[in-house]
């Protein structure tokens, strides 16, 4: 593993239960990086562009890792992914796409859009903790945070 990284993790998730479970999982996985949460695709875009309530980069720094749910209100996860991966600077931010079921999403299409990982959330908390620990540790330690 590379050097520890204290970059912000951005979670794009509309379900508050899932947000809470992600917090527990990160805690149990002993990942101490600060977590920012937005509840839909439009907020995700605003955050990444530094617009509206996310103008202050000090409070809302660019993330070093994004957990992205595909099923989102207003603007979909695919749209966010497409915008991000076509951005000249932001496209290097690793994106882990999460789905909560065996929904037959076109995995190939998601990877083509630029997702770095595509994961199905396991039903049991213990397994979920294990998965978050493995992927987050890999992507955070292996990547540098973008300069502000």
């Amino acid at each position: 593993m590379g050097t520890p990284n204290s970059g912000t993790i951005l979670l794009v998730e509309d379900n508050s239960d899932e947000v809470e479970l992600m917090k527990v999982a990160l805690e149990k996985a002993e990942i101490a990086n600060p977590l920012q949460v937005v509840n839909d695709g439009q907020e995700a875009l605003d955050y990444l562009k530094g617009e509206k309530r996310f103008v202050d980069r000090a409070s809302f720094p660019l993330p070093c890792l994004i957990f992205l749910d595909l099923k989102l209100p207003r603007v979909s996860g695919q749209t966010v992914l497409t915008w991000l991966k076509s951005h000249p600077k932001l496209k290097v931010i690793p994106v882990i796409v999460l789905t909560s079921s065996k929904e037959p999403t076109d995995v190939t299409r998601v990877y083509e859009l630029g997702a770095n990982s595509f994961l199905t959330k396991p039903p049991r908390l213990a397994e979920f903790v294990e998965m978050v620990k493995t992927t987050a540790t890999y992507w955070i330690s292996g990547n540098r945070t973008l300069p502000m």
Partner: protein, 607 residues
């Protein structure tokens, strides 16, 4: 070319050789007739000359008999006159004259004895003296002079008699006494008597028979004898006679009629008999025949052409009607009225109608097939749409159901993990029940999705080693509870053809069931094998577990039907339904046998 043109050509082609052949026949017939006519005229001419010769010889004989009469030698002239009159008795226009050596008539049988009589030598006159007969001499001096000079019998030319003033011919012989000619006996014959010869020989009325003397003057003629008597024969006949004693050829009669003529000279007298047959008559016959033939040909041709036109029009109309019928049938209308008298066309019409009906039936069938095809496609598309919608629905449901389950499971496990000390035993028990219920619901959702997937996915066809798959599943189950005393009896080398994933799911469910239902027995035995039944290989999974009542066997394979409570044996009630769908999608069949507490056997075939 139109049909009518063809028929017209046919008529022309048929008629032409017929007309030629008929023409040939007529021509030949006419030629044969011409031959017959020539032969006929030749024979007639010959018969006429012979008859004339015979007549003249008879005359000579009569005269010779008289010359030898003793009365003449005795100079008994009265007696001689009597004899002469007797010799020509009953013969009209014939009389006998006795001349002396000076040419003086001594007696004349046509006149009373002792009449004053002329002397032709002395009284002769040049031709043209008698206005009725300008070409004839009046009196016949040459006859007497020649007989006196030559002492031989002679037949004269035509001349006008001095005694009667009418034309006559004379047959004269000398009367010889002691080496010299003392007298001449002459038989005078009026030319009219020669006409009797024509009648005797049956000369046809349409022929022109004539007798002419050495000078070419007409003695007798079968046609218009009075007008032509003593007239010269036609110039061309005179020329022909001058060239040869007999012959034939074309010429013109005295009246100017064109004739085919045959002539012959008599032997006794220097006379010529000629018979002419009008070529116009023959020509007119030929013309009439040709006219009849031509008219007939034209008439039959016209009839043929009319028939061709009429029949052609009729056939054309029939064919047109048939064409219209065919067109009408093509557009689905009837064949139309029957309009033809031609048998073949009627047959064709019947065939067309039959074909039309067949085509109509065929079209209808095809339309129905097309319609059926379209309906099947529509239904299929509808079904596919429905299935897609159902899939979308079930995934949406599964996603939406799974999310709260994750929350329930996640938070109960956090409570049990981190807040357990704050709860009493009962509280922890309740949390455990929540967790278990969530777990079971999660499994149920997964199984339902499996069942849906069995229905949805395409079944591949590969070799699958069922024995090996069963071994793997058995090992996996054994690992879950290593302490359970279960004996596995898996027949080796059972290879089947089918979808590897689906067959694995089926075996998993079957062996899982067997594993589950043997759990309450102290010892368990699970068997996987195959047997032959009616030539088909039947696989089976047998256990000696809880079994079931055969009375409920029909419920086994329906989804959500369970024969045991969840507390007795956990389960979703979907597993056997899934197995049945998998087997059925492989074209196989599944059934079960069992009894309570004596185990169960599941049999299945694959295609």
């Amino acid at each position: 070319m139109r049909l009518r043109t063809h028929l017209t050509l046919l008529v022309l082609v048929s008629a032409a050789p017929l007309a030629l052949f008929a023409g040939f026949l007529v021509r030949r017939d006419l030629e044969a007739e011409e031959d017959t006519r020539r032969t006929g005229t030749r024979d007639t001419v010959r018969a006429l000359t012979l008859a004339i010769d015979r007549e003249l010889r008879t005359s000579f004989s009569v005269l010779e008999t008289l010359a030898a009469a003793p009365a003449l030698a005795e100079g008994n002239l009265r007696k001689v006159h009597e004899l002469c009159a007797t010799a020509v008795l009953g013969r009209k226009g014939v009389w006998i004259i006795l001349f002396d050596s000076n040419g003086q008539q001594i007696l004349n049988s046509s006149k009373p004895f002792g009449s004053r009589l002329p002397n032709p030598i002395r009284d002769t006159k040049p031709p043209g003296t008698d206005p009725r007969y300008p070409s004839l001499r009046v009196g016949g001096p040459e006859l007497i002079q020649r007989v006196l000079a030559t002492g031989k019998p002679i037949v004269s030319d035509l001349f006008v008699a001095l005694d009667s003033g009418e034309p006559k011919i004379g047959v004269a012989i000398p009367v010889l006494r002691s080496g010299g000619v003392t007298n001449v006996l002459e038989m005078s014959v009026e030319p009219d008597t020669l006409l009797q010869i024509f009648r005797d020989q049956d000369v046809p009325a349409t022929w022109t028979a004539s007798i002419s003397d050495e000078r070419g003057m007409i003695l007798a003629r079968s046609v218009d004898p009075q007008a032509t008597l003593g007239k010269p024969v036609s110039a061309d006949l005179a020329a022909q006679i001058a060239r040869a004693p007999e012959g034939e050829g074309l010429g013109r009669t005295w009246e100017g009629v064109r004739v085919f003529r045959t002539f012959r000279r008599c032997r006794v007298a220097p006379w010529t008999v000629a018979v002419g047959v009008s070529t116009e008559l023959a020509d007119s016959r030929e013309r009439r025949a040709l006219f009849l033939l031509g008219g007939g040909a034209v008439l039959s041709l016209a009839l043929g052409l009319a028939a061709a036109w009429f029949i052609g029009r009729r056939i054309s109309a029939s064919i047109s009607q048939l064409s219209r019928s065919a067109d009408a049938m093509a557009t689905g209308q009837g064949a139309g009225p029957e309009l033809t008298g031609v048998k073949e066309l009627l047959e064709l019409r019947r065939a067309l109608i039959a074909a039309g009906e067949r085509k109509h039936a065929h079209d209808q069938l095809r339309d129905e097939n097309v319609d059926l095809d379209r309906r099947v496609r529509e239904r299929t598309a509808e079904l596919e749409r429905t299935i897609k919608e159902l899939e979308a629905f079930s995934y949406s449901v599964s996603h939406d159901l799974r999310a709260p389950l994750r929350s329930m499971e996640g938070f109960t496990s956090i409570l049990l993990d981190q807040y357990a000390p704050l709860l009493d035993e009962r509280g922890r028990n309740y949390l455990g029940r929540v967790s278990g219920a969530a777990d079971q619901m999660s499994t149920l959702i997964d199984r339902l999705l499996d069942l849906a997937q069995v229905n949805r996915r395409a079944v591949s066809s590969q070799k699958v080693d069922l024995s090996a798959v069963a071994q793997e599943i058995a090992a996996s189950l054994g690992n879950q509870a290593p302490s359970r005393p279960v004996t596995w009896d898996i027949a080796p080398g059972l290879v089947a053809t089918g979808d590897p994933a689906l067959l694995r799911t089926a075996l998993e469910n079957l062996l899982d069931n067997a594993w589950k239902f043997t759990a309450k027995h102290p010892r368990g035995r699970i068997e996987f094998g195959a047997t032959m039944k009616d030539g088909t290989r039947v696989f089976f999974v047998r256990d000696d577990g809880a079994g079931f009542d055969m009375a409920h066997a029909d419920k086994l394979f329906s989804p959500f039907e369970r024969l045991h409570t969840k507390d007795e044996f956990p389960g979703t009630g979907v597993g056997l339904a899934t197995i049945r769908r998998i087997i059925e999608r492989h074209g196989g069949r599944i059934w079960a046998e069992g009894s309570v507490e004596r185990g169960a056997t599941f049999f299945f075939t694959l295609g």
